[in-house]
């Protein structure tokens, strides 16, 4: 069976795995701990696809009808 990349689907927003430096920067800019971020499971299909591990931060870029693009961050949890 042919394998598909989830992110190729038009309705799946772009998920980008942040490096430790990048995620620290995000946390600092919002002035919060990683525990205060919204969560996403390691078992989430997209997280599996991009190889996220527990404790990583995923940047999600969604299309928005009012602002063009909206950026969202999630902490990978077990």
């Amino acid at each position: 069976m042919k394998k598909f990349a989830l992110q190729d689907h038009g309705l799946v927003p772009a998920h980008i795995l942040l490096t430790v430096e990048e995620s620290d920067e995000v946390l600092q800019s919002y002035g919060v701990d990683s525990a205060h971020l919204p969560k996403i499971r390691v078992s989430d299909p997209v997280v599996k696809e991009i190889g996220g591990k527990v404790g990583d931060v995923v940047k999600i870029i969604r299309n928005s009808s009012t602002s063009g693009e909206s950026v969202f961050y999630r902490l990978v949890i077990d």
């Binding site: 919002y30 002035g31 919060v32 525990a35 205060h36 971020l37 919204p38 969604r62 928005s64 009808s65 009012t66 602002s67 909206s70 950026v71 969202f72 961050y73």
Partner: protein, 876 residues
């Protein structure tokens, strides 16, 4: 903010007799309360160890004073076990599921293990176990013989209110308790209970907790007589019967008497817990009033949950009927003098205001802006009366507080239920007025959803400086004109105010000097412009557009289509034949008519633009001016609507009759074609559906045609048309139905089909598919409906009523759930949305960080408009 104690978990279970005894501070053995000297009797129902309510005394258990001591439970040892009514159903289920001999749950070991697994899984997932547990009992009951000891089982019948009959014998509470005690812990788990916190035998009481006196205080009547709480009365009954029971049993009384007393004890404990058990006569007070016992305190609208915890009563509030006053600003509220003298604002006396404060105090509490109370620096409160006013005024010192009566200019919160959105509570400035109703500008009716058919509203007076500041900055009416829901003004002209503006500004209405003075007399800072012209007699006249322009801010530029614009293929703009294209340049109306699209609630384009460009203060001033001008505009023109406004000339009636006859004929032809099998089905439809659709279409078109015929004869000089066209009230469809033809009545979007076999009413033949037989109403409301039409109309009308009734309850519940889920979310200063633990919900409010009330009717951009405005300024 720090939380003093965090609740880790709440566990629900039954309290064991041992636990009841452990938490008890005293065993109650006597039914007496106070001795002859008025002192509480030891080991009686008012034992001082149960807590204190009398001021000056200290609790014998904790040493606390009244108010500090929470009260302590006592207990009564019951002579024989008694069923707890709340568990009657569960006791029945368990009795039927366990063996009568060995008390084991009558399921095989394998089944038990399977059910425990399922229950544990559900508990881990945080879901309810009711379904599984019910299945356990249903399966266990099926056994006629115990799988463990092979004892044959008997049917157990439950007899209302509280009797379990097995094989013709009534099981006593002791019997049941004995059986339950023998149930092994493992079996209790299968029944969905945790044997550590809830053993089944604890559902039969052997110890009764006696609630502390703090929750059943006695009150001393004026006569000096003590009056006890309902719970105390009930407890007295319980102790008396318990004692008699014991005496009789020790004396070896006959079984019959013992059983009677046992039943009586059961009755008193049942009603002590719940006085509304069906089949149990409610315990009554000597006066005949049913007692309010434990569950009555919790249940229902006035119960502890809905009445005391979710809803609380407040001071400094007032409620009365509302009525309109267009001469008030939208920011004001008229408060009756009587209410103003009852409510007060606390003011602190300082060296700088002391003389003014003295003036207030001197007036006493009977002359209007007076003072009701003063609070000295040491916290002592003194009521100000006519007699002590002068004296108190002289004593006044800085640091004291006076409760000054409500007066003009005070800020108050005004509210109308149901408070569905934030505009249901707004702050207004007080204007004290005569008479007994709250007065408000009708332009603020839409956010409150108020009308004046007897609506009542609430008023609250903020008591601290912070509360007043918040009320003034965040909650003022003028700060809430633009709705965060759709980005347009929710406040604006309604009904006659829209009509008034329409009449004033439509076409070229000439207004003479006297009339101009009349229209403008309540407006401030108005300079009357040069007359638009002079009439034949040489008297000057002004146009309505000119007059309306006086309340528009200078420099306002705006063009839009009025609400009655026909949306012509190519708009002639300022050359519009109907005067339906509004153009405003530099605050002057160049052309067009002011109607609902310009100043109405929910749509007012002018209101919207004025607020967005000049701020809420100018916006509020504009609405104030608009209402005052409109009310005089409509009086100037005169406006009424009567039954003869629905009259249409005979030729119009004939034309309508022709249209309807033609429609009837077409429907007949359709039916004939259907019967002959010549009807072509529409794509994706059956033949029957096609016929229905074609008939509906034909009749719908016919009704529209009658409407346009009537419309041709009802011109702009007709009041109904003026209201419909200006957007004030009603629509052309309403007028059509009144003057020409009511049209098809429907149920669930279809023609009416229900009724008798093969027909809707006995007046028609079976199988009649014609218009009349299925709810088409040819008559107009003016003509009146014939009996069959009337009946169909009632069917269609009822559907509307049922729909609204259902919709409001459903959407109300939906809204409650949403609000409960979202109420603690907060937009932070950095634009993120966080909940109370600080967890981010959105990184930018609404994904775009835009305040909906600041953008044009929810359109995502207003850049073009701003660019235009800047360019215009550059050019000037």
């Amino acid at each position: 903010m720090t939380v003093p104690k965090r609740i880790g978990k709440i566990s629900f279970g039954l309290i064991s007799p041992q636990e009841f005894r452990r938490m008890s501070v005293v065993k109650i053995i006597t039914a007496d309360t106070y001795d002859d000297d008025g002192f509480p009797i030891e080991m009686g129902l008012m034992d001082p160890r149960l807590g204190v309510i009398d001021p000056g005394l200290r609790c014998r258990s904790c040493g606390g004073r009244p108010g500090e001591c929470p009260g302590h439970f006592g207990h009564i040892d019951l002579i024989a076990p008694v069923i707890h009514v709340g568990f009657a159903k569960l006791i029945r289920k368990i009795l039927r599921g366990i063996c009568r001999e060995c008390s084991r749950l009558m399921l095989l070991d394998g089944e038990k293990r399977m059910y425990i697994d399922q229950i544990e899984t559900l508990v881990r997932l945080g879901q309810t176990t009711d379904d599984i547990v019910n299945k356990v009992f249903a399966e266990a009951r099926k056994h006629k013989v115990c799988p463990y000891c092979s004892a044959p089982q008997q049917e157990i019948k439950f007899e209302r209110p509280l009797a379990y009959v097995e094989d013709g014998h009534k099981l006593t509470a002791s019997d049941i308790r004995d059986r339950f005690e023998k149930i092994p812990d493992e079996d209790v788990k299968v029944m969905g209970m945790n044997p550590d916190t809830a053993r089944p035998e604890w559902m039969l009481l052997t110890v009764l907790p006696v609630p502390p006196v703090t929750m059943r205080p006695s009150i001393t009547l004026e006569s000096g007589q003590r009056s006890e709480d309902d719970l105390t009365h009930k407890l007295v009954d319980i102790i008396r019967i318990n004692q008699r029971f014991q005496e009789n049993r020790e004396a070896g009384a006959p079984q019959l008497i013992i059983e009677d007393l046992w039943e009586l004890l059961q009755y008193h404990i049942t009603t002590f817990l719940d006085n509304t058990v069906s089949g149990v006569p409610p315990a009554r007070h000597r006066s005949g009033r049913p007692l309010k016992t434990l569950s009555q305190r919790l249940k229902g609208k006035e119960g502890r949950f809905r009445g005391s915890l979710s809803g609380k009563r407040v001071n400094f509030s007032a409620r009365t009927v509302i009525s309109p006053d267009p001469n008030l600003s939208i920011n004001e509220v008229g408060v009756p003098l009587e209410i103003a003298m009852e409510l007060s604002v606390p003011l602190v006396v300082s060296p700088r205001n002391i003389e003014v404060m003295r003036d207030f105090v001197r007036r006493g509490s009977d002359k209007h802006p007076g003072v009701n109370y003063i609070t000295r620096a040491d916290g002592r409160r003194v009521k100000v009366t006519e007699r002590n006013a002068e004296e108190v005024a002289e004593q006044l010192e800085p640091g004291w507080r006076i409760d000054r009566q409500l007066m003009d200019g005070d800020i108050v919160l005004f509210n109308r239920q149901p408070s569905l959105h934030r505009m249901s509570i707004m702050s207004h400035r007080v204007i004290v007025m005569p008479h007994k109703t709250f007065r408000l500008n009708p332009a603020v009716c839409p956010p409150y959803n108020a009308d004046f058919d007897g609506d009542e509203m609430n008023l609250h007076v903020p008591q601290t400086e912070e509360a007043r500041a918040e009320a003034e900055i965040l909650m003022r009416v003028q700060e809430n004109i633009l709705s965060p829901r759709f980005g347009g003004p929710i406040i604006g002209g309604i009904h006659d105010y829209v009509t008034g503006n329409f009449l004033l500004t439509h076409g070229e209405r000439r207004i003479n000097r006297l009339e101009v003075m009349d229209v403008l007399k309540k407006l401030h800072h108005i300079e009357i412009p040069e007359p638009a012209g002079w009439d034949e007699a040489g008297a000057p006249y002004w146009t309505g557009k000119q007059i309306f322009s006086l309340i528009l801010p200078k420099g306002l530029n705006l063009e839009f289509k009025a609400s009655f614009c026909k949306n012509c293929d190519s708009c002639k703009r300022d050359g519009c034949d109907d005067d339906a294209y509004v153009a405003i340049r530099d605050g002057e109306i160049i052309c067009g008519t002011i109607d609902a699209a310009a100043v109405g609630a929910f749509k007012g384009k002018i209101t919207d633009r004025v607020i967005k460009e000049y701020g809420p203060t100018v916006g509020a001033g504009f609405i104030d001016g608009m209402t005052q001008m409109a009310i005089r505009g409509i009086m100037l023109a005169g406006f009424s609507f009567g039954i003869d406004d629905e009259d249409i000339p005979k030729e119009a009636g004939d034309q309508i009759e022709d249209v309807l006859n033609a429609a009837r004929e077409n429907v007949r032809k359709l039916i004939d074609a259907y019967k002959a099998g010549e009807l072509e089905p529409l794509p994706g439809r059956t033949l029957d559906e096609t016929l229905e659709m074609r008939i509906m279409q034909t009749l719908g078109k016919a009704r529209d045609n009658t409407g346009s015929i009537a419309g041709r004869y009802l011109g702009i000089d007709n009041s109904g048309v003026v209201m419909a066209v200006s957007g004030a009230r009603g629509s052309m469809l309403n007028l059509t139905q009144m003057a020409a033809c009511v049209g098809q009545q429907s149920v669930r979007g279809e023609r009416i089909r229900r009724g008798y076999e093969g027909r809707t009413l006995p007046h028609f033949r079976r199988g009649d598919l014609g218009a009349e037989a299925h709810g088409f109403v040819h008559s107009s409301y003016k003509e009146g409906l014939n009996p069959t039409e009337f009946f169909f109309h009632a069917i269609g009308g009822r559907e509307g009523l049922v729909d609204t009734a259902i919709r409001t309850s459903q959407s109300g519940y939906l809204q409650r759930r949403l609000i409960n889920a979202l109420q603690d979310l907060e937009v932070q200063y950095d634009g993120t949305v966080k909940e109370t633990r600080g967890i981010i919900v959105q990184f930018s409010y609404g994904e775009d960080g835009v305040d909906a009330s600041k953008r044009d009717y929810a359109s995502p951009e207003n850049v073009h408009r701003i660019v235009q405005r800047v360019l215009r300024k550059e050019g000037a």
